[in-house]
């Protein structure tokens, strides 16, 4: 069967990864706006907050899916980020509702630059993983047909 669960996972993660990339870009823009004074941190942090939880949950979803699909390599690549997210989530000050971006703190140059770096790194990671998923999607979808093509050469399957 060509369309395995693993292939499905990769397909889904490919789509969701696009969303994550979008989130990361959003973050970058938001922090940049903060840095250049365009917006007040209170205004800015609210939408950012809104995006943090979805991002984390989407990423956790990946990991669960890959775990189920027994894609160990992919899982291994994602686990560090997963742990980082967990750490961020539970380590953030006070109520978890505010998540990582604390308006009063975010304007500290250190914090801000940290957030920006974090956003850039995530963007890079998501981009890379996007292509990685794409490749594996091709692979998972492609290998079986190819292997099954040669022996039996039945064009109707694909």
């Amino acid at each position: 069967m060509a369309f395995t669960f693993a292939a499905f996972c990769y397909m889904l993660s490919l789509v969701l990864c696009a969303a994550l990339i979008f989130f990361a870009i959003w973050h970058i823009i938001a922090f940049d706006e903060l840095r250049t004074d365009f917006k007040s941190p209170i205004d800015q942090c609210n939408p950012v907050h809104a995006l943090v939880l979805p991002e984390y949950s989407i990423h956790s979803l990946f990991c669960i899916m890959f775990l189920c699909a027994q894609e160990w390599l992919t899982l291994g690549l994602n686990v560090p980020l997963l742990f980082y997210h967990f750490w961020r989530y539970f380590h953030c000050p006070a109520d978890s509702s505010e998540l990582a971006y604390d308006p009063p703190v975010v304007m500290n140059a250190d914090t801000l630059s940290y957030c920006q770096k974090e956003a850039w790194c995530k963007l890079a990671f998501y981009l890379l993983s996007f292509f990685y998923y794409l490749y594996w999607l091709r692979f998972r979808l492609g290998t079986r047909p190819v292997s099954s093509l040669h022996p039996s050469a039945q064009p109707g399957v694909w």
């Binding site: 007040s40 000050p93 006070a94 604390d102 304007m107 140059a109 801000l112």
Partner: protein, 1257 residues
């Protein structure tokens, strides 16, 4: 060296001893021995040639010194002052010193007497004395080298680095900003090319002083001649022309200078010359030896150091530091005069040093190859020397508190211009007009003898202390040896001996290495003042008062790398809205600002020409608007540089509508009061309502002022005070889950229209809830309601809370485990338990509403969470643990006083504060109560005069192309009268390129306050133990970094530059502070409150909190007293915070900022108890006593005036506790004795050893 150790002012301690010794020696037989010895030893041929003349001079110099002698002792005697009892070093003083009165005993007495002795000699005598001094110094240096070879290396260290380091620093900088004088000539010229710059001549006190122009003239040629001569002499032998020549110049100018100032009065010019020559030649001797010495033999020579090795550089700072001691401002006639004399002497020293250094620095850059060059430079130098010296003399930093002290008669700006450099502008003669600033130390030293010298410069007074401190009380010839005996530590020796040589004077006081473990009395006798930035006199005069604006490093390192190397925190401490009595307020249509960075025009911009100015932050060239050409003060046109904006570093602009987002809001005050059972029981309502009734008319505001009241327990009560009602109407909202305003319009009412109703309410409130049984507290909903009520206008919400909020949103659980209070391991729950208060605060901040929290609680109330409501809305926090109006009267009194201040103090609404700094620097972390809206913009819903802020800085780009950096804070606020105003402070600091300069400019108090702020952050974000470790590491790192720069000092010893010598002590104090201490039982709320205070107190108050001041008050005398508002305020010396200073026979006052403790010893003199406390004997003193009775006795009057004076200096009037030696309350007192060992913490000495151990690791 015990004496210097004890000496409050590090200043000259090292140097003077030698002089003293030398001088004495000269008087005796000794001089000849030491003098020649070294010369022959070291000197290349030419040196010897020169020597003779020098020798010939010696006798001359020494003959004069009758006055000189007396000086020596005078200095000495002043010393005992600090170690008042003289317990520790009696030996020192016992040495039979000449004619002086028995030095020991009452410290002040002798000082005075000596001065007396000193005074008689006519000025010219003094002059000669000085000459002899120099001679002595130089000779002494020789002596030192020859006599004590082992130590010579240290001396070298002292001497040589100065030259070299200077070179290096200069080389790297185009403009040697470091050297005051150069900066003056060069920088000022550069920056104000087109502008007539009058201040230069005006600035130097010398001219104003006794100097006649003639004398100056005479001096000059002489110098030149001597210079040339020396140059020639030098040129032959020395392969290193630059350093020696520099030295020469310095020497020359030094000598010239000294004669210059000293001789002026009446010394025959010939003698001048002689002295001058002598000194200069001696100097010459030294120099060649030094430079050549390198090549020759290390051990023998003074100058062992290889040129680059140690950057123990001196900058102008030395002068500054010497003047650091309390700025003696003009004082009411008698004392002033009396003071004048001794200081003069000391001042002289300071000036010399300063000048010397300056010259060095300045001369260094130019390659002194040819004599003509030299001459030119000499000229410059001279001028510069004068200037720089003037700066040093003027440098006395005006004690900040003094402003306040004098009823703040100094305008802030003035304090920078007039007060801090106070001395120079005002010719002393008429002390009367000047607002009798406190002359704490010097005046103390001096008795009113000096009537005869009315004309003395105030600048001289300033320097008194260093002088005193510096003198090792030793018999003339042996000073050095005595020190050996007492201080085995080599470094100590070196530092003390280093002072022997002239060259050592090049090292600024702030860099004098202090062996911490050897120095017994590290704490100076007088309060520590902010170091004065090493700028030229003009800039210094213009600079912002350190009260408002301080930087942890007054010399900004050029690069981040250098900063990292120094291991010191870089940051600003701000007190932007502090009460000022005089402040230039500028109304103009156009507020001149830089077009690109929006910097306000300030004294440190440069005018390219009449029509253009160059921004000092971003370097953009801007046009001067037409309106700015007209000066409203002088009513003249075409003098933009004389506008008040350019003449004052603290100004206030009346802003136009461009600076408003909405019409200025009225003053709006809302009081939210807890009326649960707990609150009623505590009885704060009575106090509050009473205070409010009393101060209702004094609430800042105008006709639009509005006021409202809410109370809450488990429900929320609103009060309709609408005009026209017959009595206040109470509206109860019990739906606390969804709070609404019953009648939005009539809850906040106009103060003036509804005054009667308000008074009715206030009278009724305390009794309205007496029978309540409601124990719950719905603080969260009440705050939400308050927010709703305030959001249309913004304003101030004052919340009174007495327990843990237990209902509705924002309810809190008790998180404190009493068993963990004294845990040494983990202190938890320093952060908020919920975000509710923070979010609400941010909402409030967005609506320009600040919430001030008064927590009057006997139990844990989770201040860590509650404080957020104030922290992020720019409010303030007051905490009264175990408040009860009956059982705890002292707290009740404190609340009352705090409320009075709170209600009547200035307030600014809808404020924002922006901090700008020169390109290349950037701010990265802010501390205080506010909301950071953007990288450099703080949003402050309210600003009050008691709020302080701190900012951490980093250096993003190298500052190599600039010699000055500036910081500007602009606070835009709406005054209570509905005016939009901008208060602008500008601080200017020099940039340095050498590590030593960085160390020289450390403002230890500012650094400690910044560290405390950082530690609070750390303990919340990480853990308390982390924060504590970080604090210790701060000491370890900085001291070891310093140690590694001073290569040839012994590494086993714990050496700190003088500027940092209090650093370990303060850090230890911090570790023992409630906020950071472990092992001692500390309630969580107390701890958190201490942290809150660290975050939002201005530096002045914070320092008292960290390191209280201890005074002995059972022997107050009028000696050195200051006059404030017709009151005589005695100025007892500071005692170190150790039980060893307490004697059973005494009574001690501890000033902790927020509280005063008077500790009465068991066998305290009954006279004191009776006269001051009003009880017959010790046994009859009650346990709880919070007032001193107004008795009609002298000692009572003194004690009270002293305490009142201390009180007047701060916003929160502290409560006085009289603590008997045996009462249980004494633990409160003893916990502040931070130098002592406690069961859980190091003593000071142990801490030093610990640090040392860490360094050695």
């Amino acid at each position: 060296m015990s004496a210097p150790a004890g000496s409050p002012h590090p200043a000259a301690s090292a140097r003077i001893p030698p002089k003293l010794g030398g001088a004495a020696a000269s008087g005796a037989a000794a001089p000849a021995g030491p003098g020649p010895g070294p010369h022959q030893q070291n000197g290349p041929a030419q040196n010897q040639m020169q020597v003779p003349s020098g020798y010939g001079l010696y006798p001359q110099n020494y003959v004069a010194p009758s006055g000189h002698y007396s000086q020596g002792p005078g200095k000495m005697t002043s010393l005992p002052l600090d170690s008042q009892s003289g317990d520790y070093y009696p030996g020192l003083y016992t040495v039979p010193t000449q004619n002086v009165v028995t030095p020991n005993t009452a410290s002040q007495q002798p000082g005075a007497q000596q001065m007396y002795g000193r005074v008689p000699p006519a000025p010219h005598v003094v002059g000669s004395a000085l000459g002899s001094f120099q001679g002595a110094m130089s000779s002494a240096s020789h002596l030192q080298t020859s006599a004590s070879q082992p130590y010579s290396s240290f001396v070298n260290h002292y001497n040589s680095p100065a030259m070299y380091s200077v070179n290096s620093s200069v080389a790297s900088q185009g403009l040697p900003s470091t050297c005051g004088h150069y900066a003056l000539s060069a920088v000022s010229n550069a920056s104000y090319p087109g502008v007539p710059y009058p201040s230069l001549p005006a600035g130097d006190p010398y001219r104003q002083q006794m100097l006649t122009s003639q004398s100056a003239l005479t001096v000059r040629p002489i110098r030149e001649s001597s210079l040339s001569g020396q140059n020639t002499a030098v040129s032959h032998p020395s392969p290193l022309p630059p350093p020696p020549s520099q030295q020469y110049q310095q020497q020359q100018s030094l000598s010239g200078y000294s004669t210059f100032s000293w001789s002026a009065p009446g010394l025959p010019s010939t003698q001048d010359n002689l002295i001058r020559n002598h000194t200069s030649q001696v100097a010459a001797n030294n120099n060649p030896t030094n430079t050549v010495a390198d090549s020759l033999s290390r051990s023998v020579m003074q100058n062992v150091q290889p040129p680059k090795s140690s950057p123990v550089v001196s900058t102008v700072l030395s002068g500054a530091s010497s003047t650091r001691p309390p700025p003696a401002a003009p004082r009411p006639a008698e004392p002033a005069a009396s003071v004048a004399q001794p200081p003069e002497l000391s001042q002289q020293k300071g000036m010399q040093y300063g000048e010397y250094v300056n010259n060095q620095a300045s001369s260094a850059p130019t390659p002194l190859s040819s004599t003509s060059d030299d001459e030119e430079e000499e000229e410059e130098d001279e001028e510069a020397g004068v200037d720089s010296s003037s700066t040093t003399s003027s440098a006395s930093p005006m004690p900040n508190s003094y402003d306040a002290l004098e009823g703040g008669s100094y305008p802030d700006m003035l304090s920078s211009s007039a007060s801090s450099p106070a001395p120079e502008p005002a010719p002393e003669p008429d002390p009367a007009p000047a607002p009798a600033p406190a002359v704490p130390q010097p005046s103390k030293l001096a008795k009113p003898f000096g009537y005869g010298y009315p004309a003395l410069q105030p600048g001289y007074q300033n320097a008194t202390t260093p002088l005193n401190s510096g003198v090792p009380p030793s018999s003339p010839g042996y000073s050095g040896f005595q020190q050996y005996a007492q201080y085995p530590g080599m470094n100590q020796l070196s530092s003390s001996l280093g002072g022997l040589s002239l060259q050592s004077s090049s090292q600024p006081e702030s860099l004098r290495p202090v062996n911490l473990t050897q120095e017994r009395n590290i704490l100076p006798m007088t309060p520590v003042w902010a170091p004065v930035p090493n700028l030229n006199s003009d800039l210094r005069k213009l600079n912002c008062s350190p009260d408002s604006f301080r930087c942890t490093l007054t010399n900004i390192p050029q690069t981040q790398a250098l900063l990292n190397k120094a291991k010191l925190p870089l940051g600003l401490l701000l007190h932007p809205f502090r009460d000022l009595t005089q402040l230039p307020v500028i109304t103009s249509n156009t507020i001149v600002r830089c077009r690109s960075c929006r910097t306000y025009i300030n004294p440190f911009v440069s005018f390219i020409d009449q029509r253009r100015w160059k921004c000092n932050l971003c370097y953009r060239i801007n046009d001067v608007p037409e309106e700015f050409m007209y000066n409203p003060i002088t009513r003249s046109y075409g003098e933009p540089h004389k506008r008040p904006e350019v003449q004052n570093s603290t100004v206030e602009f009346i802003a136009s509508s461009d600076y408003m987002l909405r019409p200025p809001q009225p003053a709006v005050y809302l009081f939210v009061l807890d009326v649960s059972h707990n609150a009623v029981e505590a009885g704060y309502l009575t106090v509050l309502c009473q205070s409010l009734l009393e101060n209702l008319d004094k609430l800042p505001g105008d006709s639009r002022t509005r006021i409202g009241f809410m109370t809450f327990d488990s429900t929320i009560h609103f009060y309709n005070l609408q005009e026209g009602l017959s009595q206040p109407q109470m509206l109860i909202v019990s739906d606390i889950d969804d709070v609404f305003l019953p009648t939005p319009d009539s809850l906040l009412v106009n103060l003036h229209e509804s005054k009667e109703l308000i008074k009715d309410l206030l009278n009724a409130l305390p009794n309205m809830f007496t029978n309540t049984r409601e124990t719950h507290s719905a603080l969260g909903p009440a705050l939400q309601a308050a927010f709703k009520l305030m959001s249309p206008t913004g304003g101030r919400v004052s919340v009174f809370q007495t327990q843990l909020p237990s209902l509705g949103a924002g309810l809190l659980q008790s998180r404190e485990d009493p068993n963990q209070r004294s845990s040494t391991k983990v202190v938890q729950h320093l952060g908020p338990a919920t975000d509710f208060y923070k979010k609400l605060a941010l909402d409030c901040s967005g609506q320009q509403t600040a919430v001030d929290l008064f927590l009057l609680s006997s139990q844990y109330s989770d201040l860590a969470s509650l404080a957020c409501i104030s922290r992020y809305s720019a409010g303030c926090i007051y905490y009264y643990p175990s408040f009860h109006y009956m059982h705890n009267p002292s707290q009740a009194e404190k609340l009352q006083k705090d409320l009075k201040r709170y209600l009547t103090r200035k307030i600014g609404f809808e404020a924002v504060m922006r901090i700008r700094c020169t390109k290349g620097l950037s701010m990265h972390t802010f501390h205080g109560n506010f909301f950071v809206r953007s990288t450099d913009l703080l949003s402050l819903a309210n600003i009050n005069p008691d709020a302080g802020f701190a900012v951490q800085l980093s250096i993003e780009e190298s500052l190599t192309d600039t010699s000055l950096v500036c910081f500007q804070t602009a606070l835009l606020y709406t005054s209570s009268k509905g005016e939009r105003r901008i208060r602008v402070h500008t601080l200017c600091l020099p940039v340095v390129s050498s590590l030593a300069d960085v160390y020289a400019g450390v403002d230890v108090q500012a650094a400690i306050c910044l560290l405390a702020n950082m530690a609070v952050d750390r303990s919340i974000s990480s853990s308390l133990s982390d924060a504590r470790d970080a604090l210790v590491n701060a000491v370890v790192d900085s001291l070891s970094a310093y140690g590694s720069t001073v290569s040839n000092l012994q590494h086993s010893a714990l050496i700190a530059p003088s500027s940092l010598k209090l650093f370990p002590l303060y850090v230890l104090a911090l570790l023992k502070q409630k906020a950071f201490r472990t092992g001692t039982s500390t309630r969580l709320d107390d701890r958190v409150y201490a942290m809150c205070q660290i975050k939002c107190q201005p530096l002045v108050h914070l320092m008292k909190m960290i390191h209280p001041n201890l005074y002995r008050i059972d022997r107050l005398t009028d000696e050195g007293a200051i006059h404030v508002n017709d009151r005589v305020v005695p100025q007892p010396p500071l005692q170190k915070l150790s039980a060893e200073k307490l004697t059973r026979e005494g009574a001690f006052l501890m000033d902790c900022g927020s509280a005063f403790y008077i500790w009465i010893g068991k066998s305290c003199d009954n006279n004191f108890i009776e006269d001051v406390l009003g009880y017959p004997n010790f046994a009859s003193i009650p346990q709880k006593m919070t007032h001193l009775p107004e008795l009609d006795t002298l000692s009572s009057e003194r004690a009270r005036s002293f305490i009142t004076w201390l009180r007047d200096n701060r916003p929160l009037s502290p409560v006085l506790h009289v603590v008997k030696d045996e009462s249980p309350a004494k633990t409160e007192f003893f916990q502040h004795l931070i130098e002592d060992r406690t069961e859980a913490a190091f003593s000071y000495y142990e801490f030093l050893l610990h640090v040392q151990q860490q360094i050695c690791k």
